[in-house]
């Protein structure tokens, strides 16, 4: 097989896969589903997680990290967020099934996993000065919706970013 045949076959394969991936995306929703489906979020996930903070996109941590978080809900970043076993059984599959399959991007090595420490998150936010995250209206890097105005609906497009203290800046 010549080099050209080989490369055109590869190109055809890559294109097919790309189309498949894109069409699956279009099928499953839209850009707002990019990091974790919002439309199929179980009511129990909303009521249990979103009472205190926005539901973080499932696709921003690997399954093993979600399991580490869900197994220690009684000691959840400084608060008791314990749920019954019955509730846990309704919540856990959403995160595990929609978790990232890219360990090189979305593994957290902190004691309790923090998606804000993953290589992907750090790279995506590296142009921001640290003081941005301690701004009174932001509080911490975990407060996605402080700047990503559509975060709770799953929207993380750069056009939807408004950073308190940097309102006029485009990202």
């Amino acid at each position: 097989m010549s080099f050209f045949t080989k490369s055109s076959k590869l190109a055809a394969l890559a294109t097919t896969l790309l189309i498949l991936a894109t069409s699956t995306h279009a099928d499953g929703g839209n850009k707002t589903d990019k990091y974790g489906p919002v439309a199929t979020m179980p009511a129990s996930v909303k009521s249990e997680c979103a009472s205190c903070h926005m539901v973080y996109p499932a696709g921003l941590l690997v399954a093993k990290d979600w399991q580490r978080i869900l197994s220690k809900l009684d000691k959840h970043y400084g608060t008791d967020a314990s749920v019954s076993q019955q509730e846990l059984a309704l919540i856990a599959p959403y995160f595990v099934n929609n978790a990232s399959t890219w360990p090189e991007r979305h593994v957290s090595t902190t004691d309790l996993p923090r998606l804000t420490t993953t290589p992907w998150f750090v790279r995506k936010h590296n142009e921001l000065p640290n003081k941005v995250f301690t701004h009174a209206a932001i509080k911490s890097a975990a407060n996605c919706a402080a700047c990503h105005t559509q975060a709770e609906k799953g929207g993380f497009s750069e056009r939807q970013i408004v950073v308190p203290g940097y309102e006029s800046r485009k990202w």
């Binding site: 498949l20 499953g28 205190c52 903070h53 608060t79 008791d80 749920v83 099934n97």
Partner: protein
């Protein structure tokens, strides 16, 4: 070039089915009650150790506002629920809005015993480092019922 496999469809189906089943079964879990009934329940429990116990809104208010030293983020109930339980609260760490706690401002409050018990456990652990006692719960709810 790595392309994310379109593997989410199957799981989406199960998540979808799961949430539909949950919605259907939710009425079975819900234990409909009221603030007065729950306050009464804890007052009854309190009477088993102190026959003279009667709930006090005044004690409940003091409990709501008392600053504790267990957790600097959550010194008291007011840290998140504000000093006025009929007002909208704000999570002391995340800043997330919390619906008013007083039944006069939020009719849904204390109408699900399971939910009330769950939040007593979580929040008492956070603020006091222990579960709340029956008299504390009876006073606390009595105080909230009286907030207009």
């Amino acid at each position: 070039m790595i392309i994310k496999p379109p593997a989410q469809l199957k799981s989406r189906f199960w998540v979808c089915l799961g949430s539909v089943m949950f919605c259907l079964s939710a009425p079975v879990f819900a234990q409909a009650t009221s603030a007065a009934a729950q306050s009464g329940r804890w007052a009854q429990v309190s009477k088993t150790t102190n026959a003279d116990f009667t709930s006090s809104a005044e004690r409940g208010k003091a409990f709501f506002l008392k600053a504790n030293t267990v957790n600097k983020d959550f010194p008291n109930c007011a840290a998140c629920h504000t000093a006025n339980p009929a007002a909208q609260g704000k999570h002391a760490v995340t800043g997330k809005a919390i619906a008013p706690l007083a039944p006069s401002a939020n009719a849904e409050r204390f109408t699900d015993a399971g939910k009330t018990d769950k939040w007593f456990k979580r929040n008492c652990n956070d603020v006091l480092g222990r579960e709340c006692t029956a008299p504390e719960k009876a006073d606390f709810i009595t105080y909230l019922i009286g907030v207009k």
